[in-house]
Each structure stands twice: as C-alpha cells, then as structure tokens.
C-alpha cells in the first residue's frame, strides 16, 4: 500500500511528489520517475509539526533537518507506531537536561559576575568622575538634608567645632565642609563633594569632645576616600543591573532583596575602611581613642531601644567588633586635650 506525499529536499522550493512505502523499519519515498529519493530509518524521523484533525503533518529527518515531508494525518498515524517510543523520549530528555544545566549555570554565574564586577568597575572609574558632577550630586544630597531642618551656626559653637576638627591635622587642599543640623537623631553623614553633616542629636549624645571627634574622624575617613560618591555609583549600577535583569527576567521582588543585601556588604567594607582611617588619625595625633570606644559602647548598649539610633546599625559592622578593635590600641599614656571644657560647652550650644 502506498501513500502520496509532497517532499521538499531543503535545497530548493521545487516540489516533489513521492509515493511513500514502509519497508521494514524504514520509510521510503519513490519519485514519479521511480527513483528512491528518500530512505529514512524510523528512529531518525523528526516530527516538525504534528497535525490536529485532518491537517498535514510535517516530518523531517535528523540526518538532514532542512528537508520537509508533508504527510496526511492517516499516514502519520501509521508511521507513528513505527517510531521507537523510547528513542524519542531519550533524545528529548538528554536535550532538555543539557539545556537546563546551561540555564542554571548561566543564571548563577551572571549575578555573581555582576556582584564582583561592580566594585571593581567603580574603583576603576572613580578618578574619572568630574569634580563638577560630584559637586552637583553633593548639592543635591545637601538640599535633601536641609529641606526641613535648620542649619546651626552659633558663632562660638562653630569656632569650637572648627578647632575640634583641626585637631586631626588633616593636610588637604580643601578641608571638608562640616554642617550641623538641628535634628534630634544621633547621626552623622558623609556626603559627596567633601561634606560632613553632623546632627545636633549626636553632639548632645556625646559625653566628651573626643567622642564627637572620633565620629568626625570616621566621617572624614569616608569623605577622604570619596565613599559617598562610590556608594552612589555602586548603588546606581546595582539597581541598573537589576533593572535590566528585572525587566528582562521578571525577577521582581527577588531583585530588591538581593540589591539590598549587596548594598549592605559593599557599605560594610567602606565602614571598616573609615574606622581604620579614623583610628590611625586619632593615634597619630595623640588623641584618645577612648572617646570613639565609648561612643560605640553606648550605641551598642542602646541598640535595643528603637528609634534612638535609627539606620546606624543596618549598614555598619557590629559595634561590639568595632569596640574590640579600638580597645586593643589603647595604651596607658597621656593624650592631648582637644577642647577646653568651656569650648565643649559652647559647642553643645551650637543650635541655641
């Protein structure tokens, strides 16, 4: 029994009408002039398009997958029984596990690659970022801070603050701009373009000028290394990468969490760097690190009081570890006095 089918050899659009026969385990197609044009072993047959109802089914061969054979539904039913089921399944399974492995590999490597390349890229481009742009960024951030708060500038207090910072003896062309804002929060932030913002809450929280100076030295560590700019770039780069991923891959919520985690570990390494700079500066200038130590101990103790020191812990190394690091450096010696008691009182009144 023969069946008619149309055959395209994959080399041209010329149509060949074939008589199909089943010979043992092979499908054979004979052209009008009697030539055996096609001889496919059953296990080599690929079903390109399986017809529904009375449509035409498209077959091809794994030995040359450009060829097309259009057979009727009834003939397809006939040869479908011939094609070894196990062979079909096995091939498909092998193909899909390989694909799956590839996908999983790529998906794990890509985020890891991006994670490690961002700090590297940032360090690489930092020297090229223009001062003007950094200034713009700093002004923007400053505006954000100053928007609903008063800047404290009591004359005597200001003079005391300047004297306090000068004790660090940082020899740079442009000393940092230090602003005090009238906020109750115990905090200090470093902003792009060489700016440190001190919250009045921190000044009141400090029990000695050394304590405040320790924090200032820490913030100076950030500013001197251009950490605010660096972290801005890193965060933007991260959210941008996540945007591409999130958009293209639909990661959605997962992207947010990962981004936050990444941001955390980046900033921790910067905090450690700032701590080291601060400690070195204090020791070099014969200033007691006990102030900074007391500060860390105090914020460590009040850590479980919500609202007292908001958003300080989240991005900083545990205070306990930092305190231990400082404790090691303390020696029984006479340190220099950074402010007179009177100046310290005046500094406390900077917002009055």
């Amino acid at each position: 029994m023969t069946h008619k089918a149309r055959f395209f050899d994959g080399k041209s659009t010329a149509s060949n009408n074939l008589d199909l026969q089943i010979e043992g385990n092979s499908l054979v197609g004979i052209s009008a002039d009697g030539k055996r044009v096609l001889e496919w072993r059953a296990e080599d047959i690929i079903v390109v398009h399986r017809a529904k109802r009375d449509e035409v089914t498209t077959l091809s061969s794994s030995s040359d997958n450009a060829v097309r054979l259009y057979v009727s539904q009834s003939f397809y039913q006939l040869i479908n029984r011939m094609i070894p089921h196990r062979a079909k399944i096995k091939r498909r399974f092998l193909q899909s596990t390989k694909t799956l492995g590839f996908i999983i590999g790529a998906l794990t490597l890509l985020p890891v690659g991006i994670y490690y390349s961002i700090p590297f890229l940032t360090t690489l481009m930092l020297p090229f970022v223009s001062q003007k742009w950094e200034q713009e960024l700093g002004d923007m951030a400053l505006k954000e801070v100053r928007r609903d708060t008063k800047v404290c500038d009591a004359k005597k207090g200001r003079a005391a603050l300047n004297k306090l910072f000068s004790a660090l003896n940082v020899s740079v062309e442009t000393p940092p701009k230090i602003l005090v804002v009238d906020e109750r929060e115990v905090n200090a932030v470093a902003l792009p373009a060489n700016t440190i913002v001190v919250f009045n809450g921190l000044i009141q929280f400090a029990d000695s000028p050394e304590e405040l100076l320790g924090v200032l030295a820490h913030e100076w560590g950030h500013v001197s290394q251009r950490h605010p700019l660096k972290s801005y770039i890193q965060r933007t780069g991260l959210s941008f990468s996540m945007l591409v991923f999130g958009y293209a891959g639909g990661f959605g919520g997962a992207a947010g969490v990962t981004s936050a985690l990444y941001g955390l570990s980046y900033s921790r390494s910067m905090e450690e760097e700032a701590d080291n700079i601060a400690l070195n500066l204090l020791l070099k200038n014969n200033i007691s690190p006990e102030g900074l130590l007391a500060f860390f101990k105090k914020i460590g103790a009040s850590g479980d009081m919500p609202g007292v020191i908001p958003n300080y812990f989240s991005t900083h190394p545990p205070s306990g570890n930092r305190a231990k690091l400082i404790e090691k450096t303390i020696k029984p010696q006479k340190y220099k006095q950074v402010l007179t008691p009177r100046e310290w009182e005046e500094l406390k009144l900077i917002c009055k």
Binding site: F8, D9, G10, K11, S12, T13, A14, S15, V48, H49, V56, T58, A66, V67, R68, Y70, T99, F102, I103, A106, L107, L110, G113, I114, S117, L121, M125, F128, V129, S130, K132, W133, E136, I233, T236, G237, F240, S241, V244, F245, Y247, A248, G249, G250, F251, G252, A254
Partner: protein
C-alpha cells in the same frame, strides 16, 4: 499584445492565515503563567512557541510557513546582551555625568533601537522558511541605524518634509538586503504620490486625533510592497487607510475594555490584517528558489529583547 496576454495570466497567490483566537489565547495565557513561575526564564521559549504557532498558520500557495527558531537561541542572545549593556551604560552614565543621561536616551532611541530591529529582523528571517527554504537578511545593522540617524537629522532640518524619504530609504535598505534562499530582493526606490498624502495627513493630524496618519501609513505599505520584486515575483498590498484606521481603533478599544487581556485578540487581528492585504503576484510553481549555503548564527535578538523591541515579519 504581449503585455496584455501576460496580465491576463497573472497568478495571484493570496496569503492566508487560519490561526484560532482560542488557541492564541491559550498559548498567551500559558506563556504568562510559566514566565511568572520561572522568574521570567520561560519567556524565551514562550516567545518561540508563539511564533511557531503564528508563522505556521500562514499559508502561501498551499504550503505553510515555518518558524524554526529555538528558545535557547533567544536565551543565548539575552546572555550575550546583558553584560554588554550593563557595563557600557555604566561607563557612559558616569563619564558624561547627568547630561549623559539625556544623551544616552537619544542614542538609544535613534541608534540602538534601529540596530536592535535590524538584528531581530535578521534572526527572524533566517528562522522563517517556506517549502524548506530560509529567508535571509544581509547588510549591517550599524549602517541601518546610521541611516536612521541621518534621516532623523534631515527631517528636523526640513521640518518633517522629508519623512516619506526616511520611510522609503530605510525600507529600501532592508529590502535590498533581503534574500529568499539565494534569490535577492530588488527594490525600485520612489516616493511617488507619498509626499502629497504625507503633507495632507500631517495637516489633518491634530483634527483627527492622529488617525489621518493611517492613510499615509497604508499608502506607504502599498507603495513599499509594490516596489519589491524577487525572481520576477511581485508583492501586492491592498490595505486602505480605512482598514488600518479600523484596525487601530479596534485594538485601542479592545485593550481598554479587556484591561490588556485581549492581547491575543489583537495579535489575531494583526495576523488577519496581514493575510487579508498581502499577496504574491506571479507563478510560484515556475520559480525555483534555491537554498543559500552558509551557517546560521547560534543566537539572536539579545539587543531587541533587552530593549523590548518586537518586530514582525509575519
């Protein structure tokens, strides 16, 4: 005499499409579901499956078209594209500062998107077959994008006068680089009749809620098709401005009233519009298209995918 007898024998091969809205809807729903639960990764396979279905429902002279692309190829394209765009944008952004953002935006719109379109077109043509023979797009995506930028600038300088040239020149570049098998498409450049329509519809633009442009677009489609020949075959497009306007208005209301769930219906309308309006003139049985030699690229559409650009050949 000769010419007359030839016209009387002209064979018109209508394109036909027999996709079912219910099946497109089923596929669409399945793709969305699987895309969500696989965190987006299924998208590439879903896209491929949808294209296989849509392209496979087009028939010309009794034989169906076939889409032979694979999901893994789109996924590979995506992987190639991602690190490239992340790193390059990262650098651009910070070298140029805040002014750079606007610049980047313009570059993406005018240069990168046309590049992506060309690349995607190249991939999709190479994966579209009829009677086992593949389409092919040669030429350079960069050149195409540069052409786009050039015409954009000329359009600004001429206050929009030159738009028909822009449209036709870009189409010409694609057409003249298109092959079916190893037969090259030839294109006869002209903007005859387009200019008047362009200016008229531009004038009416504010009074017709932009719908007047449908008449220009339809004329452009007819004109583009009419100037394409391949091995003596010609294309014909009979879309009218009214047809196009109805298509757009319909799609607009479907989107609004089904809250986007009618996407599959819109796909169907587009496919039916293409099938209803395009035919191939000439005897297909007499012409033998020969498969071109050469290897196929292993990946595709990374750029277009990342930018969310989708182009259709069929």
């Amino acid at each position: 005499m000769n010419e007359k007898s030839e016209t009387s024998q002209v064979v018109v091969n209508k394109l036909s499409y027999d996709g079912k809205t219910s099946q497109v809807f089923g596929l669409w729903l399945k793709n969305i579901f699987l895309t969500i639960i696989t965190l987006g990764i299924y998208r590439f396979w879903g896209k491929t499956e949808m294209r296989k279905y849509l392209v496979g429902r087009f028939e010309l002279n009794g034989d169906r078209f076939e889409y032979t692309g694979r999901g893994i190829e789109l996924f590979r394209g995506f992987l190639i594209f991602v690190p490239f765009i992340v790193i390059s944008s990262f650098f651009l952004f910070f070298f140029f500062g805040r002014d750079g953002i606007d610049f980047l935006f313009v570059v993406i719109i005018l240069f990168i998107i046309p590049m992506a379109i060309y690349g995607a077109l190249r991939y999709r043509l190479s994966r579209t077959t009829w009677r086992g023979v593949r389409g092919r797009l040669v030429g350079s995506a960069v050149k195409y994008a540069a052409l786009n930028v050039g015409y954009f600038i000329l359009t600004l300088l001429t206050f929009g006068l030159i738009v028909p040239y822009w449209d036709m020149k870009l189409y010409q570049y694609v057409a003249e680089n298109t092959y079916f098998g190893d037969s090259k498409v030839s294109f006869n450049f002209s903007t005859k009749g387009l200019m008047k329509l362009h200016l008229l519809t531009l004038l009416l633009f504010p009074f017709t809620l932009s719908l007047s442009r449908c008449w220009y677009k339809a004329a452009l489609m007819r004109h583009q098709c009419a100037n394409v020949t391949i091995d003596g075959l010609r294309l014909r497009c009979v879309a009218s401005g009214g047809d196009l306007a109805l298509l757009k208005i319909g799609n607009y209301f479907i989107t609004i009233f089904t809250l986007g769930l009618g996407a599959s219906w819109i796909i169907q309308r587009h496919m039916n519009f293409i099938a209803a309006n395009i035919s191939v003139i000439g005897d297909l049985e007499k012409i033998k298209f020969v498969q071109a030699k050469g290897k196929l690229a292993m990946s595709g559409e990374g750029l277009a995918d990342g930018l969310g650009v989708d182009v259709g050949i069929l």
